[in-house]
């Protein structure tokens, strides 16, 4: 019954999406506004239908309807209820449904917000969005349906893999998938601009918030993924340059480049072709991400078994690339830049180089991901590239990006005077030198390490000083105390200072990455109760094992005492054996952040024996806590930047305009 309802809903949704995609473009071409209105209604109808289908699946989960294959695969009767929800997107069919739901809901918001304000673009935006939606619905209806039934109906399900029964897993996949999907919206506007020839800045302004939203979702998705890997997987790290991680970060790099380069087009009418290319690339990288994850063409730790939907995604990718690049070619004459670059010492030039570096990172990472396929085609043999490749190539590029990030905040638009630039730089350079020297004193030796620390410190101080200077100016102008002025900075120019807060976050994350990758201590050891081992500055003593039985699982807990020069604490890493998953005991990692060093003491129990012997993998990871702090600032900054500005009334504007006019003029045109 549930299966029939769900299947029917998805099929009607498919028909509605197809109708809307065609009606919208016909309505625009034949000038029949009623058709476009009906297409808008189709967008809303598709969202409602897909939402109902999702609710139907949810209902099947909650009622333990094991007549559905998907429910059997993802849940058991004993599964705690929050993980019934992660079962929703835990498998292929469900994640496709989640995906099309997200896209349908976002599309609905798009038509509601932009239908009146962007009359010329919207019919084509609807067509593009519904075409993407139709593709997902084809796959859901005809290839991989979550409403497939199984007979005879089993009494209980197989259940979600225990590794995924973790709070991080409740939010990481939805965020990342939502990020993938929200890239579709600026892409749809870009394509609509190309089709209509309305290639002025309107499509950029209309999608400014959408692009930032996509960037935010992608940031959150990747950060949560790293957090989950670090806290759950137990290999002591948060990023392994695995193919699936790479394809998740690729659209993030593209969107990061895009949110910078659109500023250049908005202000100076330059980089028009570049922006189109970036958004096309970002969207196709998002599709490529799904393709890689779902096709099984690459050996990854995340490898989903080879599934039959790979070729469909590949076909979709090919069509979308060919169509969008052809459209771009046809419009090239209209995309001529209105201005030229005035000087290398200008913000637009730093944005251009930031973009070139980001594109280089994208190309390198993409090359690494497809290298096994490439070498197979050329040499007839698959060659895999591992983390050292990415570290050696992307490391220096990212370092240059961080340095450029600091530099970019210093130079003004159009043309900067070198003297004015260096006048304000002295304190910054002294500060960066102090931090770098401190790092050398604390043990940094290799030139790369020292250079990286210097670059991050430089960027961090530049960003902080930007806040400080503006706060001082506001304090004087508005006669407010300093802390209030510091907050007022965000009200003053939300988009810019939100962005600078992101820069602060990036610089802090950079320091954390340097700390945890260059100064990590690790040791694998097997101990009997009473034995102890030294790792870095810490001594770890093993005290013994205990076993607990809980409903649905059995825990084995090791008790360890960790000491350093001035403190000691107990930790208890565990192995948990879940019912139905006896062959896969799950390690519960312990991570204890030690202050004031900000070392993470990270211990995994690898195995244990009958006699109480247990083997452990022990890491001391310095500064990882700053990674999460930097990540939180990055997300907060992105959120501030994204937050829609209140419509500023002209009466309040002059007051702000008096404040050190040049420095404080908002660089955004409020829309």
């Amino acid at each position: 019954m549930t299966a029939n309802i769900g299947t029917a809903l998805l099929f009607i949704a498919f028909l509605a999406a197809l109708y809307g995609a065609v009606a919208s473009v016909l309505g625009a071409r034949l000038r029949v506004p009623e058709l476009v209105v009906s297409a808008r209604n189709a967008v809303i109808a598709v969202a409602a239908l897909v939402a109902l289908a999702a609710l139907t699946l949810m209902y099947a989960f909650v009622t333990h309807d094991f007549s559905l294959k998907y429910v059997v695969a993802q849940t058991t009767r004993a599964q705690p209820w929050p993980y019934l929800f992660s079962g929703f997107y835990g498998g292929q069919a469900g994640s496709l449904l989640y995906w099309s739901l997200t896209l349908a809901l976002l599309s609905t918001v798009v038509v509601l917000v932009h239908f009146r304000s962007d009359r010329q673009l919207i019919p084509y935006v609807i067509t593009v969005l519904l075409t993407i939606e139709s593709f997902f619905l084809v796959v859901l209806n005809f290839i991989s349906s979550p409403f497939e039934t199984v007979f005879p109906v089993p009494p209980d399900g197989r259940g979600l893999n225990p590794l995924l029964q973790d709070p991080g897993m409740l939010i990481h996949p939805p965020m990342l998938l939502a990020g993938y999907m929200s890239v579709s919206i600026p892409f749809a506007f870009g394509i609509a601009a190309l089709i209509t020839g309305q290639v002025n800045n309107r499509w950029l302004q209309a999608t400014r918030h959408w692009a930032l939203l996509a960037w935010l979702f992608l940031s959150l998705g990747n950060l949560l993924g790293a957090w989950w890997a670090y806290h759950v997987l137990g290999w002591g790290g948060y990023w392994g340059w695995d193919p699936v991680e790479n394809v998740a970060i690729l659209p993030w790099f593209a969107m990061t480049a895009y949110v910078h380069s659109v500023l250049v087009q908005e202000r100076r009418g330059m980089l028009k072709v570049w922006n189109m290319v970036l958004i096309i690339v970002a969207f196709n990288l998002a599709v490529f991400g799904t393709f890689v994850v779902r096709s099984g063409i690459l050996a990854s730790v995340h490898s989903f078994a080879v599934s039959e939907i790979g070729p469909y995604f590949f076909g979709f990718l090919a069509v979308s690339l060919i169509v969008s690049l052809t459209l771009l070619m046809l419009r090239l004459p209209q995309l001529r830049d209105e201005h030229n670059f005035d000087s290398m010492l200008s913000r637009e030039a730093t944005f251009l180089f930031n973009n070139l570096l980001l594109v280089a990172v994208i190309c390198v990472t993409f090359l690494g991901v497809i290298f096994p396929l490439l070498s197979d085609a050329v040499q007839g043999r698959q060659i895999n590239v591992g983390p050292p490749f990415y570290q050696q190539v992307n490391g220096p590029l990212l370092l240059a990006l961080v340095a450029l990030m600091g530099f970019g905040m210093l130079v003004p638009w159009r043309r900067g005077a070198a003297r004015a630039l260096f006048r304000g730089l002295r304190i910054t350079l002294i500060g960066a030198a102090v931090i770098t020297t401190a790092a050398v004193v604390l043990g940094a030796r290799s030139p790369w390490t020292i250079l990286s620390i210097a670059a991050c410190a430089f960027a961090l101080i530049v960003a902080l000083r930007e806040f400080h200077r503006t706060a001082i100016a506001l304090m004087r102008a508005q006669q407010t105390p300093y802390p209030a002025a510091l907050l007022a900075v965000f009200r003053y120019n939300r988009r810019r200072y939100g962005g600078y807060l992101v820069h602060v976050g990036i610089a802090i994350m950079g320091l954390a990455i340097i700390g945890s990758s260059f100064f990590q201590a690790e040791r694998s050891v097997s101990m009997r109760p009473g034995q102890s081992v030294a790792v870095g500055q810490y001594t770890v003593a093993y005290q013994g094992l205990t076993t607990w039985n809980e409903p649905g699982k059995q825990r084995t807990i090791a008790s360890l005492l960790v000491r350093n020069a001035n403190q000691s604490f107990e930790v208890a890493p565990q192995k948990v054996v879940y019912q139905n998953w006896e062959d896969q005991p799950i390690s519960e990692v312990v991570i204890k952040t030690v202050y004031p060093q900000f070392d993470d003491v990270y211990i995994v129990m690898a195995a244990y024996g009958e006699d109480g012997t247990a083997s452990f993998h022990i890491f001391v990871n310095p500064l990882v806590a700053f990674l999460w702090l930097g990540g939180a600032l990055l997300v907060l900054g992105g959120l501030i930047s994204w937050w829609p500005s209140p419509v500023t009334s002209p009466t309040t504007a002059p007051a702000a305009a008096n404040v050190r006019a040049r420095r404080l003029t908002p660089d955004t045109v409020s829309s």
């Binding site: 995924l164 290999w235 050996a299 280089a360 895999n384 590029l397 690790e522 993998h617």
Partner: protein, 154 residues
């Protein structure tokens, strides 16, 4: 009008001067990236081989980093009592290979598990793996990241 022409020309020439700088900057980045890629490729690469292809490589398999995938032969897993060393055999269509590995074993590793090992062949014919990736074969579809990934060198 005449003034416009002059201005345009001035803009044009400064544009050219600047475009050269941009192009030079772009080329510098391109060369740097190319250099980095070429320099890093030997370090980061591993050949995907079958068990018999590995045997055919002869002595070169002792220095060249390789990747072999196969299923763990049931009953061959031997864990050492006092360390994290583990020894097992993997099997593909072309043959069997004995593998030594030291480090955290993925949670889903066990008999019949499909694994990918990366490392070099020892003189004694035992494959010494630095990386052990495991996939779970028991389910139609899987979202199982394993416990062991590359541990970044300190």
């Amino acid at each position: 009008m005449a003034e416009d022409v002059v201005v345009a020309r001035a803009g044009g020439s400064s544009r050219r001067a600047f475009d050269v700088k941009i192009i030079v900057g772009g080329i510098v980045i391109l060369l740097a990236v190319a250099y980095l890629v070429v320099a890093a490729l030997p370090a980061g690469t591993a050949y995907y081989l079958t068990v018999s292809e590995l045997a055919d490589m002869g002595e070169r398999a002792q220095t060249q980093q390789t990747r072999v995938s196969g299923n763990v032969v049931p009953g061959t897993i031997v864990r050492s009592a006092d360390s994290q060393d583990i020894r097992f055999q993997v099997e593909d269509e072309s043959g069997r290979l004995t593998v030594m590995y030291s480090g955290v074993v993925p949670d889903i590793f066990g008999d019949h598990t499909q694994v990918v090992v990366e490392g070099t062949l020892g003189e004694d014919g035992i494959y010494s793996a630095e990386v052990l990736l495991a996939k779970c074969p028991s389910r139609f579809e899987e979202a199982v990241p394993t416990g062991s990934e590359y541990t970044e060198p300190g």
